[in-house]
């Protein structure tokens, strides 16, 4: 065999022995350094205005959208029978201006004595709700500047550099392992793949430094996941590393573009309609021009490139689901969204893509619950899914087979349980520390770099490292839960929650499906699985999480605070 480097056998063996311990230790260190600031930052509300009540009380307004009403869930509760449960919504805009919108109240909302539906507020305007008079007093620019300076800082720039250095060391060590074990032509493509990741992570970091953004933890973890995915591809299909690397670069671009759209709430709201149309459009195009692979018609082949547009539809769906408070209190918007979801699900059903349909359904649940807060609605939706599921199993028996083998894979190790049993065998063979690069044999099993990539990573890099890839996704979710508390607009809260949920659900279905804890659905592992569109989709979703990060100078998807009164 033609190896790239003619290293002595003992040296290779010793190096792999070292690498087995080194990778989990470095990964744990990296994860700890990235996760701690994300999970422990002080969540302090930003105060944007004061609401002066007739009794002299000043109520702080801590979000850009504030519901005033009788119900306990309102942000400002006025317990008077003349006030409707959701009476009015105060909204702040990017430029610091405010409006008040009547939320279909019985008594109406009055500004300076005039009954209004929606009205721009000037400082000192008298607002009257159910007979209670109040005045909105926005904070001054100077106060705003002071507030921004006092906010919890994201990690210092040096922390980001150290984290990224750690990741780069990890990548280089892994690459060296491949160099010792790979054949010459394979190694060149592996080098290109890893090199592409290293280059894009530093480019993004430097770009952040230029635009004075400091939080790079989420990105570092995402690049780590991409690295592990690249390692799996390097073993399974070394000829596809370059393709995956290109997808990663495209993904980062999409991440930046979506983040840029989300920066400006008004722009994002306009862009939302385009996204809604694109979501359906992607699916329709696939349905018309798509190719059927393995039972699901969800592939589009253009010039020999195979795309899975439903992965991009997920990002559009998250966009479609987001909404601002003034619209949320209006029930009609939810029905529109339900109708939209039904269209999407119907399209997926026709495409026979049940794995993706399940992800959309879960995303729908998250959005519907966040917007309505109604457990009853969710129960109804789940019941509907149950019926639809039974119907689907009648129509598509191949889906039923997955359920019959579930938790019985060892009884059917040669057909229905083939991939899962091989995955478990190889996870066990790899142990906690793995067999090293190119040491695995799962690569010969179908979809070793996508549907069962968790097992491929576990076999070669160890169960510890594989579990830590799952922990990365968990950290994304936990961070999202923490940060949406202080998000400015419900548009960002809903977007971040849904995006993080989609990442989480895909990870659940992929990893737990591989190890036979859940039925095997063939869903991709975000950032890790081989697949260009899946990679782009994952980065697109991460942009929504970034947009909810309001720590000082943390996120490129959030505008910098104004400096000394200068206009942004």
């Amino acid at each position: 065999m033609d190896y790239f480097v003619e290293a002595p056998q003992e040296l290779t063996t010793e190096y792999i022995g070292f690498l087995r311990y080194c990778v989990p230790v470095l990964t744990a260190l990296l994860l700890l350094r990235c996760a701690l600031p994300l999970l422990t930052f002080r969540r302090e509300p930003e105060i944007w205005a004061w609401l002066n009540m007739p009794d002299g009380n000043q109520i702080p307004i801590t979000h850009w959208e504030t519901v005033i009403g009788r119900s306990k869930g309102s942000d400002v509760t006025i317990e008077l029978s003349t006030v409707s449960r959701n009476h009015a919504v105060l909204t702040r805009y990017d430029d610091g201006s405010w409006t008040i919108t009547d939320a279909g109240s019985k008594g109406g909302t009055f500004v300076n004595g005039k009954n209004v539906q929606i009205c721009a507020l000037e400082p000192g305007d008298r607002i009257s709700i159910g007979g209670v008079e109040m005045r909105l007093q926005p904070i001054t620019e100077r106060q705003e500047e002071r507030q921004a300076q006092l906010r919890t800082k994201a990690a210092s720039g040096w922390d980001g550099v150290i984290n990224l250095m750690l990741l780069t060391i990890l990548q280089c060590l892994m690459l060296l392992g491949f160099m010792l074990k790979c054949q010459r032509e394979d190694f060149i493509s592996v080098l290109q793949g890893f090199g592409g990741i290293i280059l894009s992570q530093w480019t993004l970091f430097i770009f952040y430094a230029i635009i004075r953004r400091k939080s790079f933890e989420l990105e570092t973890m995402a690049f780590f996941l991409c690295t592990m995915g690249m390692a799996a591809i390097a073993t399974v299909r070394p000829d596809e590393t370059v393709k995956q690397m290109m997808a990663l670069i495209l993904g980062v671009v999409v991440f930046l573009v979506i983040g840029w759209f989300l920066r400006d709430l008004e722009r994002a709201k306009r862009f939302r309609y385009l996204a809604v149309a694109a979501g359906v459009g992607f699916l329709l195009i696939t349905l018309v021009f798509g190719t059927e692979y393995y039972g699901a018609k969800n592939w589009l082949i253009i010039n020999g490139m195979s795309l899975q547009p439903s992965e991009l539809s997920k990002v559009c769906f998250v966009f479609a689901g987001t909404s601002t408070m003034d619209r949320i209190v209006n029930k009609r918007n939810l029905f529109l969204f339900i109708a939209y979801s039904i269209v999407i699900c119907a399209l997926l059903a026709v495409m026979n893509d049940f794995g993706t349909a399940l992800i959309f359904f879960c995303a729908f649940l998250v959005i519907a619950y966040l917007r309505s807060g109604s457990v009853g609605t969710i129960a109804l939706a789940i019941t509907a899914l149950g019926f639809a599921g039974v119907l689907a199993l009648q129509i598509a028996p191949h889906a039923l087979q997955r359920f019959t083998t579930w938790r019985h894979v060892w009884e059917d190790p040669l057909s229905g349980g083939y991939q899962q049993t091989r995955a478990l065998m190889c996870i066990a063979a790899g142990g906690l520390l793995g067999l090293g690069p190119e040491g695995g044999l799962l690569q010969y099993v179908f979809a070793a770099d996508s549907d069962i990539v968790f097992a491929t990573i576990s076999e070669e890099w160890g169960l510890l490292t594989a579990v830590m890839t799952v922990v990365c996704i968990l950290v994304f979710s936990l961070f999202t839960i923490r940060t949406v508390r202080v998000a400015r607009s419900s548009f960002y809260s809903i977007g971040a929650c849904t995006a993080a949920s989609v990442l989480l659900i895909q990870t659940i279905l992929n990893c737990l499906g591989t190890v036979d804890i859940l039925p095997f659905t063939g869903v991709t592992f975000p950032f890790v699985s081989n697949g260009g569109t899946s990679m782009i989709g994952a980065w697109g979703l991460l942009a929504f999480v970034k947009a909810a990060d309001t720590r000082q100078n943390a996120s490129f998807a959030v505008r910098l605070a104004k400096k000394g009164g200068s206009k942004d």
């Binding site: 087995r20 966040l370 049993t421 478990l424 063979a429 142990g431 949406v484 508390r485 989480l504």
Partner: protein, 457 residues
């Protein structure tokens, strides 16, 4: 806004599913990973249907099979043939279950390192077999079909277990288009996978039962006129043996006398003794469960019951299982359980070491002692002690009738009494004709080889 942020608990639900599922999986990994890794078809352990990993040696350390890079058998053609049924073939027709049973130990699996430590060189499984004895046994069998088993009834080590016909895996004959019948059942390991009509070697079982349950049986005498009639049917001998005591009848292998002994024992007792001795049961060692024997007289007429005590009727025994019974008699009522894998090492560590297990008392010490003297008498007075120089062999022959125009199977079972050669054996030669005539020369060569090997250790 507040109400939306409060509703994010829903995400906590998904987080709990992922964390719970992962923890559940890690628990499964803790308890089941050692089973997963050696499950049939495991890519790191198996190559097709057989284990594809490590090295298998005989008791003296001679490499029988190297699995590290494909399947490299011994460089001795005779050894390749004589050990094939324990090592498995390249095409997966013969499965080496004993070796596969220790796949995990050979792989040196542990939960932390997986199979990493052994992935370079692979583990070594040492069999209790001796290639030298295997080859002697194969040569003695010639091109006859059957099996020879010899084991140490004090330790349990199987020194010899040959199954014929066999073939050279490095020079595979055209088995599929063979029409001579020379390769009938070639993929079968007859020692563990076959059951045979025992014929007169079953008289050992009947004698043991009679000694135990019929008072003063040794003082009784039995008359043989060459035929004992049961209505229209009869139990017959080749000649009239006249009047004999039990010991003489056993040496003469007198069917008529044993038909009378059978009546004295009675059906109910006989069934209980067969069960207690375990001769109709399968035995289990190293992950192998042998074929079961059979003793079913629930619908037997008196003549059939009589034949069942002579090892005919519908009686069946498995060679390995019957050999273990011989070991129990030799051991004074209890013998070691046979096994074939001596130890497994992986990455310089011993990952498996066989331990001697006693069968427990199958028969009383007194009965065993009398049986020993009877079987010793057989060799001295009938089979010829000179065939086994330096060994005090105890045995019983059998010529099991198969019906039709098939030549009978030649059977021979027994043990060596010498303290330094504690060996029990069984020989089956299919269609081999008269038991002692066929088997004694074979046994003579095999025991000589055993003695030679044991002297060298």
């Amino acid at each position: 806004m507040n109400r939306i942020t409060k509703r994010t608990w829903l995400m906590g639900l998904f987080i709990m599913i992922l964390v719970g599922g992962m923890l559940f999986f890690l628990g499964e990994y803790m308890f089941c990973a050692s089973d997963w890794v050696i499950f049939s078809g495991s890519p790191h352990i198996y190559n097709g249907t057989n284990i594809g990993f490590g090295t298998v040696t005989d008791r003296s350390g001679d490499v029988l099979l190297d699995l590290t890079d494909g399947r490299t058998y011994s460089d001795n053609s005779l050894t390749r043939k004589s050990t094939l049924h324990w090592l498995g073939d390249r095409d997966g027709y013969i499965s080496a279950s004993a070796v596969s049973n220790y796949a995990g130990e050979m792989a040196g699996f542990d939960r932390v390192s997986g199979i990493y430590n052994a992935s370079g060189e692979g583990g070594v499984a040492t069999l209790t077999l001796s290639a030298q004895i295997q080859n002697a046994a194969l040569e003695a069998m010639g091109n006859r079909k059957g099996t020879i088993g010899v084991y140490n009834y004090q330790t349990g080590e199987i020194l010899c277990a040959v199954s014929t016909p066999t073939y050279d895996p490095d020079n595979v004959p055209d088995i599929a288009s063979d029409e001579t019948g020379a390769y009938n059942g070639v993929y079968l390991n007859r020692f563990i996978q076959s059951s045979y009509v025992p014929g007169s070697i079953y008289k050992i079982v009947t004698t043991a039962a009679a000694l135990d349950c019929v008072p003063d049986i040794e003082q009784m005498s039995f008359t043989c006129n060459g035929k004992l009639e049961y209505g229209t049917e009869a139990v017959t001998c080749e000649k009239a043996h006249g009047t004999q005591n039990l010991k003489r009848a056993f040496a003469n292998s007198c069917n008529c006398a044993f038909a009378q002994v059978a009546e004295l024992i009675g059906k109910k007792n006989m069934v209980q003794y067969v069960e207690a001795f375990g001769v109709a049961d399968s035995i289990t060692f190293d992950g192998i469960t042998t074929a079961a024997g059979k003793y079913d007289v629930s619908e037997a007429a008196p003549v059939s019951f009589a034949w069942s005590c002579i090892g005919q009727y519908n009686d069946l025994v498995n060679p390995a299982s019957y050999m273990a019974f011989m070991g129990a008699i030799a051991g004074g009522g209890s013998g070691a359980r046979p096994y074939i894998v001596s130890n497994v090492t992986s990455g310089g560590k011993t990952t498996y070491q066989a331990k001697t297990e006693e069968s427990g008392d199958l028969l009383s010490a007194e009965t065993a002692a009398v049986l020993q003297s009877y079987m010793r008498n057989n060799v001295q007075s009938v089979y010829g002690d000179w065939n086994f120089p330096g060994l005090s062999v105890c045995a019983k022959s059998g010529t099991s009738q198969l019906g039709g125009d098939q030549a009978p199977n030649a059977m021979f079972a027994g043990f060596v009494q010498n303290e330094e050669y504690p060996l029990a054996f069984i020989i089956v030669v299919e269609n081999g004709g008269y038991g002692s005539h066929t088997c004694v020369p074979i046994l003579s060569k095999v025991l000589a080889a055993c003695k030679n090997v044991m002297d060298g250790e």
